[in-house]
């Protein structure tokens, strides 16, 4: 990893404690708003859960460095998606494994009753199951538009395809969803 002095810190020797608590407030707010979205996108792109947090951090590190000179302001989530995709690819390529603390990989499921836990897990499984039935371009468009609720122009920007392409992929995927849901309700009346 390359290191460089940040002008903000203004000191040559590493003194993390001195400047640690100062990410720009705008970054902080973007993080608050979109960290979960980025996390889900990363998991969806095949990043293992154990690495997802580190990758979220990487995504926002990119954002931090582009925050000031980002002039063409498009949809933030489309941009985050593009960064996340790059990060995910990079993580897979480099096989990088960082030193990790012990407590880190605690599943997010809390200590509530088992039935509830099961249901929560079920929603995740169901979504993954359905997305797995679609071909990948459809699944990506559908995931961003329906699951993450991006607007169609945002999806088009994120995937770098034409608006009409997104619309047609969505139309097909929605039809599949209807069939899939109907089949499931028949299975479990």
């Amino acid at each position: 990893v390359t290191t460089a002095k940040r002008s903000e810190c203004g000191v040559s020797e590493p003194e993390p404690a001195a400047c640690a608590p100062a990410p720009p407030p705008e970054l902080r707010e973007l993080f608050d708003l979109h960290a979960d979205f980025v996390y889900r996108v990363l998991l969806r792109l095949g990043v293992p859960r154990t690495d997802a947090e580190d990758c979220v951090q990487d995504v926002f590190l990119v954002v931090a460095h582009r925050l000031t000179d980002y002039v063409e302001r498009g949809a933030i989530r489309a941009w985050l998606f593009v960064i996340a995709r790059q990060v995910a690819m990079h993580a897979q390529r480099s096989h990088r494994r960082r030193v990790r603390h012990q407590l880190e990989i605690v599943p997010a499921l809390g200590a509530d009753d088992p039935h509830r836990q099961l249901e929560r897990k079920r929603a995740i499984d169901l979504v993954h199951e359905f997305l797995g039935e679609l071909d990948e371009p459809q699944a990506q468009a559908f995931y961003l538009a329906e699951v993450e609720q991006l607007t169609v122009p945002e999806v088009a920007a994120a995937l770098d395809v034409k608006l009409n392409t997104v619309y047609s992929r969505l139309r097909l995927a929605r039809r599949r969803l209807a069939l899939w849901l109907a089949a499931r309700t028949k299975e479990t009346p």
């Binding site: 100062a22 407030p25 993080f31 990119v62 498009g74 489309a78 920007a157 969803l177």
Partner: protein
């Protein structure tokens, strides 16, 4: 019918998915901390990860007239102001304050002599207003701006006194009662009332409209701008300042010079107060005053967080 059912089922499923698959509070805090450390060390992202932001195609929604923009903007500003004000305790200082400002304005029009005789004498009223009733002030300001744009020059919010004068000398402002009544249940009625006033403003050719004539695509982005500010408003009403600030940040990010930029900046300044981040609020306020020296909100912004605390009776941690 069937399509709707499918959509509902899908929506429920996806909402569940989004709720469940999150970083969690701990993971969030941990990641943020690590990000901060990483930035403090001056770490740069790997070269191949630096990507250009994507461009978003513009969709053309129905174009909004200038009148429509002004109406939406002021309505939102009023709503945000009131909601922000009501967040901490939900009591009715706003309504009370409004009534006191609005009623006399209607009952004693155009007579300077009555100024001293009114139940509210000019000086204390203005003091109190500037310090203690920011929201009432905002509402009154916007209302006055809307119905009498010509008074703006004279009533420019450099001191509290002209404001009080303006309120009292205002000739038969339309339905002040309606406005005052509206604030008890803040948002919807108030919004309606504000809309009414703004319509008058349109007729009068208000000068305070955020002029963005140089940026043609502006009218296309207004719906999204509104949506963001509204979600900030909803979050605040739910007492979730973090989310509100995030929505405002997204607005700032996406529409740095948007048509609702002024309302957004005010909302942020007030929301920061409620979040206990007074220093940041102060910094924002200074920037705001430089940028919009004659904003109808300038006086409120200048009053700072103390004004909110003083009247809330809520000491910030």
């Amino acid at each position: 019918m069937k399509r709707q059912r499918t959509k509902d089922a899908g929506d429920a499923l996806f909402a569940g998915y989004r709720d469940e698959l999150t970083l969690g509070a701990e993971g969030r805090a941990r990641t943020l901390r690590k990000l901060q450390e990483c930035m403090a060390r001056g770490e740069l992202p790997a070269r191949e990860i630096r990507v250009e932001p994507p461009r978003v195609a513009r969709v053309r929604p129905a174009a909004l007239s200038n009148a429509g923009k002004l109406l939406l903007g002021s309505t939102l500003a009023v709503t945000l102001g009131v909601v922000l004000w009501n967040v901490p305790d939900g009591s009715q200082p706003t309504a009370a304050g409004l009534e006191r400002v609005a009623q006399p304005a209607a009952e004693i029009p155009q007579q300077g002599a009555h100024l001293a005789a009114t139940p509210i004498t000019a000086a204390p009223e203005s003091d109190q207003l500037s310090a203690a009733k920011p929201s009432a002030r905002i509402v009154e300001r916007v209302r006055r701006t809307a119905s009498r744009p010509s008074s703006m020059g004279e009533g420019a919010p450099l001191s509290a006194a002209p404001a009080a004068r303006g309120a009292v000398s205002q000739p038969q402002s339309a339905e002040p009662g309606a406005l005052a009544a509206g604030t008890v249940e803040p948002t919807p009625q108030l919004t309606a009332a504000a809309a009414k006033h703004t319509q008058q403003a349109d007729r009068a050719g208000a000068e305070r409209a955020p002029r963005t004539g140089a940026e043609p695509p502006a009218s296309e982005t207004l719906p999204r701008e509104l949506q963001l500010l509204q979600s900030a408003q909803l979050a605040l009403r739910a007492g979730d300042t973090r989310r509100a600030l995030a929505a405002l940040a997204e607005h700032k990010w996406t529409f740095p010079r948007g048509q609702l930029a002024e309302a957004r900046d005010v909302a942020r300044i007030l929301a920061l107060c409620h979040a206990g981040e007074e220093a940041q609020s102060q910094r924002d306020a200074e920037r705001f005053l430089q940028r919009y020296p004659s904003s109808p909100f300038a006086l409120r912004v200048r009053a700072g967080c103390q004004a909110i605390e003083a009247t809330d009776g809520l000491a910030k941690p």
